[in-house]
Symmetry: C2
Subunit: 109 residues, 2 copies
């Protein structure tokens, strides 16, 4: 990946909050929430996640990590990309749409 790509400035860190002031595409971080994954297994979550990874570059998005509570059926998915809508489009095309996507510009650890 070159330094001119949409993810410029994000490599090597775990806190991608790079905002453009020079006309580059802006990249922000998002958390999205899915419901209805009751009883889903690890391999099934991986398969769903890989359907996102396979097409995420079409929108300049990267899905970093996803966590599943198979009891409640909630999935939390951490990503970065140019917009909330870009994240939603990839999830929709991958077969697990959600309207619940939050921009998370603030992170602490």
């Amino acid at each position: 990946m070159t330094d001119d790509g949409p993810l410029a400035g994000l490599q090597g860190g775990h806190s991608p909050r790079s905002y453009s002031t020079t006309g580059r595409i802006e990249v922000a971080r998002f958390m999205d929430v899915h419901s209805g994954f009751v009883g889903v297994t690890g391999p099934q979550l991986r398969e769903a996640h890989e359907r996102d990874l396979a097409i995420e570059q079409d929108e300049g998005v990267h899905f970093e990590r996803a966590w599943l509570d198979p009891e409640s059926g909630k999935v939390f998915c951490l990503s970065h990309g140019p917009s909330k809508e870009a994240v939603m489009r990839i999830h929709e095309r991958a077969g697990h749409p959600t309207a619940e996507v939050y921009a998370i510009p603030v992170e602490v650890e």
Copy 2:
């Protein structure tokens, strides 16, 4: 930290899903969700998080990371510890109780 502590087996990895079969305290991972943090700043989130960190050892919990969407007021908080109730007790004592805590035994990246 010794190998006998409640977090034994969790050091050095980012995927704490160590379950005891030998009488050790079990440790699992959790995501919790808070609402109502509209307009909260980074320093304010850090201060809230540090109130958790200051007392988390009382329950064998560790709050790894928290993300804030100041527009919707949602906070997502990643932790590990012996139980959902332990996580809830620390958050309550720290002044930001939530009933929305999910065990997340499955993680993909």
